[in-house]
Symmetry: C2
Subunit: 319 residues, 2 copies
């Protein structure tokens, strides 16, 4: 598997390019770019999904459509914003009507649920890949990666690791249709962007990111951008019962830490904000739990041990 | 060559998807989508370029970078808008540092020239393709495809056809390095989005489009969206001397009509606006000329003959 960092590193040649503009509040390096709108800040993000890299080649078109929008909505969620408009660039090896209809249905259902309009883009021929651009507003303070402070608590929503467990189920024909694993598969196939939670946390959380590369890797992004260390507690990073059932305790915890593709929110908040965090979670009907603390230093630690290298996230479908 | 329409048709399954929103002024079907901003209208467009489909595989990375941004800037130009911010999704088969540096240089130079900030996006692994999303403001009336009215004149900027002629030069190793064809090649390799002209035409032109599919095909988009016929005059559709020199008179005119990839602006304006059009052209230092008239009916006509089928534009690098 190719490490994400190889391409992330090369991305640095593209940072700080183009003109300097006073209306760019936050450029490259967070989940979305932030611009000074005429009234409210504007948020924009763009993600590309490549078949065989970001989703398995046999994933039904409906779920490819869902995922293409979900990963972008998740970027807006991580900024605490309200998604409004999406543009689509779809590249297809052939003009397959049935595939495009199903793809559009998957995208449409999720867009309707979050009141997002699909307002353009183009369809071209080439190897299957999808680029979705999402734009929206921040109606309150913007959640950024660089705001974590010493003493803050670290929180995560949902059940990180379930998505990667679900992918393994999906890839095993003998298990794919067994009802006991449907919940795990659902976590992979139909990630739910945490829009309501993100908006509820605006003004409460000190930093936020969505969990796409893997919990430790994404916590690491917050630590690096905020100039702090983050200490996770293993006892709090307990995988779901279904993931432990599927993988066993040890592999399940490894998957929770490094799996990725969860599209949960990981965020930090001052200790005094515990009650506000829990109210935000209740209001958005999203489970959250505290998994660690922010401290002086750098890096990500688990029960006092530095987490680096292979626990830090990777691309999953690479050859 | 696969006709563009095959993929355009399939794109219809993606139109009118997602939620209805009052703040969507213009969705699928124009050069860019238009949203009600808090003060000024917002413009957004997204285009994907695939190697071997939208540019030859041996085009130097610097010009691929230029093109990826240019085709998007051209969409904003066709709306009469001011481009502000670009996001990039770059998919690469391998983490090739030298290629990405040259690509970023090409993109950067054009972005600087138009005061556009490059503010994010991602780099992933896969077959080479580039999606650029551009956003900007309309500082005056928005130019649309659907505003042409009977009696309007039809205008075009620059020298349509030169880009396709330049591609043919590029693809001929025996001619590529000859200085007499450098101007033609430049038209293909370094298209210049007509941002200044588009902004100068806001409030003057009744409809506009950028010439990407080919002059007749793009004039046809204006005719269809406006519910009118457009009559072109062959004598006014005279190819450049260099294109006639390269291809001969007959092939040169065919290329002017159907070539594509010009990224010139084609627009309509009331007869009484001739002087204003010429002032806008002078102010933006862009040559324009009148090539026809808008009338009742439908379709695109050349000296009284209906233009359909093979003259109507196609994809150029398809197998």
């Amino acid at each position: 598997m190719a490490r994400a960092s190889e391409f992330d590193l090369i991305g640095r040649y593209l940072a700080d390019r183009g003109a300097r503009r006073d209306d760019v509040v936050l450029g490259v390096g967070d989940d979305a770019a932030v611009f000074a709108g005429d009234d409210r800040p504007l948020l924009m993000a763009l993600d590309t999904l490549v078949e065989g890299v970001h989703f398995p080649a046999d994933l039904p078109a409906e779920w490819v459509g869902h995922r293409a929008l979900a990963v972008n909505l998740s970027d807006i969620a991580a900024m605490g914003g309200e998604p409004c408009w999406a543009l689509l660039g779809l590249t297809l090896p052939e003009a397959d009507e049935a595939w495009v209809k199903a793809f559009a249905d998957g995208l449409d259902a999720l867009a309707q649920r979050h009141a997002v309009a699909l307002t353009g883009g183009d369809v071209t021929r080439g190897p299957l890949s999808i680029s979705v651009q999402i734009a929206g507003h921040a109606n309150g303070p913007v959640l950024r990666r660089d705001g974590a402070a010493c003493g803050d608590r670290v929180w995560v929503s949902g059940r990180p690791g379930d998505a990667m467990g679900g992918l393994a189920v999906w890839q095993d024909p003998a298990q794919r249709d067994r009802s006991r694993w449907q919940g795990l598969q659902h976590a992979f196939v139909a990630p739910q962007p945490r829009i309501a939670l993100g908006q509820a946390l605006a003004g409460i959380a000190s930093a936020a990111i969505d969990v796409s590369d893997g919990l430790v890797a994404d916590v690491g992004h917050i630590a690096r951008r905020s100039g702090v260390a983050i200490a996770l507690r293993a006892a709090a990073c307990r995988p779901s019962a279904r993931l432990r059932h599927w993988l066993g305790d040890t592999a399940a915890q490894q998957t929770l830490l490094a799996g990725g593709d969860d599209y949960e929110l990981c965020f930090t908040a001052p200790t005094g904000a515990d009650a506000a965090v829990l109210r935000a979670a209740r209001a958005s009907r999203t489970a959250v739990r505290c998994i660690g603390e922010v401290g002086r230093g750098e890096g990500v630690w688990l029960d006092g041990e530095a987490l680096t290298g292979d626990a830090a996230g990777y691309r999953h479908f690479s050859d």
